[in-house]
Symmetry: C2
Subunit: 109 residues, 2 copies
């Protein structure tokens, strides 16, 4: 899934999740894949993009049609378990930013 091809007009919403992973996998990859599958079926979900440096610092941005859709996903029961595991095991630290996308433009070479 690619945040670039969701075709939504602005304004829509972005959740910026910046994080530093703790060392070791500890079940992270399996849960990450589960969450990817689960989020794709959420109402108002438009796409997700992710990148991580070798140092362990990563950025994941999910795109949403509304603030209500973001709240709904945050309160998903399976996602809440993942969030709790994230704090206990997978992340040293993270920041979540809820953003309104006001304008966008693209270049395709």
């Amino acid at each position: 899934m690619n945040g670039n091809d969701h075709g939504a007009a602005e304004p829509y919403y972005a959740v910026i999740f910046t994080s530093r992973r703790s060392s070791g996998d500890n079940g992270y990859s399996e849960m990450d894949q589960k969450m990817d599958e689960l989020v794709a079926h959420q109402p108002g979900f438009l796409g997700v993009e992710s990148a991580r440096n070798d140092s362990g610092f990563g950025i994941t941005i999910s795109y949403w049609s509304s603030l209500e859709a973001i709240r709904h996903w945050k309160n998903n029961e399976m996602h809440k378990i993942a969030q709790e595991q994230g704090k206990q095991v997978w992340y040293d630290n993270y920041t979540v930013r809820i953003c309104k996308v006001e304008r966008e433009y693209s270049f395709n070479g």
Copy 2:
């Protein structure tokens, strides 16, 4: 510089730059470092965070106090040269999203 420690209260602004690099360095690293130094001195600049996958897909987010500060940086003469080189040489494609950060929260384990 770290987007997490700028201490700005919401709302402030984020510019999400998602990109796919073309192959080869072709002067990218040198310009990237120059831009890092230059942007740090721009009025209204709050911080920048960046991550890139081994595949070449990357996300850079810069944080700003106002839309005017973002416009000012976009029109910086040296930055405009870098933007043009970006299209000609360094990026296969990219998307820029101008966002208003409405809310944020952090976890520190």
